[in-house]
Symmetry: C2
Subunit: 300 residues, 2 copies
């Protein structure tokens, strides 16, 4: 494995182009305008168009391409996925939740727009995601049954059986203090992993992948989703000089439970398992291979 921590130049160009496609789609689907209530749309755009790596939508597009599909077909779904991610950040930052004043180097949504409008902006982003996926206005060559399946993938991954469930488990865990590994894994696989895996699944479906391909890419997504979260925990710990706390003052992190070295090994092993899932795929899966390696290379 290449542990240079540098981004492969061809991957960098690939990412840049797809991030631009995603950003353009977000602008098109949620344009700045004067519709009332103006402040709601402003608050939604504030968090949705904040600069970000767009890792989830890019993985969705890469999955579509890995099965031989045209990424442009999957752009509305990629944008919807990013809307759901943005909503989750807005609600997570609320005073009653993680109480974060800052997000990506800018004041968090409720700090700027107030708590009530931030709750509504989150609700609005979540609902708009499903509006986009269900809309007849969104030009698409995809059949209705596939679109419905893609929509279900997203709803299931975002709901109580996925992201919302992981966040609820996290809140319950904090309330009781000590967290053990199975519980931490439940939190991470649900809070972060489910949405990432759903993106892979959605992309593979929209690209016309076979059931076997869809399942393989979903497993790839689960592995790198968890690896991504462990890597984030490691980077947070490194950034906070080994205080053993996550970004939310949370003790429940892999480095805190397993130590740095074992956490790194665990993340590496997950990436290897993700790469194994890609073995039946051809060169179309090259970006997914590079992305998997990139996730853990950041921690070395």
């Amino acid at each position: 494995m290449n542990h240079s921590g540098k981004l492969d130049p061809s991957l960098a160009a690939y990412l840049k182009e797809r991030v631009r496609w995603v950003d353009d789609t977000l602008e098109r689907l949620l344009p700045p305008d004067l519709r009332p209530p103006r402040r709601l749309y402003e608050a939604m755009r504030y968090s949705l168009t904040a600069p970000g790596k767009r890792i989830r939508p890019v993985l969705l597009l890469a999955a579509c391409e890995a099965v031989g599909g045209d990424a442009r077909v999957a752009l509305p779904a990629a944008a919807a996925l990013e809307m759901v991610h943005a909503y989750s950040l807005v609600h997570d930052d609320l005073p009653a939740m993680d109480d974060d004043d800052m997000r990506r180097g800018r004041p968090s949504n409720h700090t700027v727009y107030g708590e009530a409008m931030a709750i509504l902006a989150g609700d609005g982003l979540l609902t708009t995601a499903f509006e986009v996926l269900g809309s007849a206005q969104v030009e698409t060559t995809v059949d209705a049954a596939t679109r419905l399946a893609v929509l279900f993938d997203l709803a299931h991954a975002a709901g109580p059986g996925g992201m919302v469930g992981g966040q609820a488990a996290d809140i319950e865990a904090r309330g009781k203090g000590e967290v053990e590994l199975p519980e931490l894994e439940f939190i991470h696989t649900h809070k972060t992993g489910a949405l990432i895996a759903a993106g892979l699944r959605m992309g593979a479906r929209l690209g016309g992948g076979s059931e076997a391909q869809i399942e393989a890419l979903t497993r790839y997504g689960r592995h790198i989703g968890l690896a991504f979260q462990i890597a984030d925990d490691i980077l947070d710990q490194a950034g906070e000089s080994g205080e053993g706390e996550g970004p939310d003052g949370n003790q429940a992190t892999y480095p805190a439970l397993l130590g740095l070295a074992t956490s790194r090994d665990h993340a590496d092993a997950l990436v290897e398992r993700a790469l194994m899932e890609l073995e039946p795929f051809g060169t179309e899966a090259a970006p997914l291979r590079s992305l998997a390696r990139y996730i853990v290379d950041r921690t070395h």
Copy 2:
């Protein structure tokens, strides 16, 4: 018009049966169980299964029947609509929003489960609604294109162009004091009316209605949605001995702006317009006719 304020006995029997169908469907779709995180499911069920009139899902079923459809086909959609309504109540009651400790005679969700879990329970109910509509597990004879259109109806009505937009406008209006009639109408048509109209539209679609029938029932829904809100304002004012305040300490009500008599006339006129939309329909629309009258009869 019959202004007795009493419920027609055949309508009462009709409502009772359909409310039971809706309640059974909600139980089936969100059963009490021990899945983790248990407290999240408890919180979701607490608000979803609270006793209520189920007016929105019943209207949806009645619209399905008005176009000659079988109401049972529309039960998952009716349940999804009630989930979206329940989520909106949970989020509306939050301290940052209306700050209501009580709802339907019971402590509000956040009073029982805490603010963080209430936010997540609302998010979970909203997402589950779309999960239900998108699910392949939900037995249905409806084609995918119709299901996608129904899902879009709900998402659009719940989102920034509908309910969330109305709630945001309401919050902005409270911040600035004086509210005028066009603004109040915007708030009501979006905050309450959009979801009711969407239910009619969804039911008409699922029952196999023609485009003309779907549009007529949507207009019926808009009229009675606004009449329903005006009636609620009137009842609230009556209940609070003419203090001129809505249930949320809100000055923006029809009786406060127009007076009681004019508000009643306005509601009556809206019901007449709703009934006119039903003229092309046969006896299958009898429950919709009775329901329209029942809404304003409460205020006389």
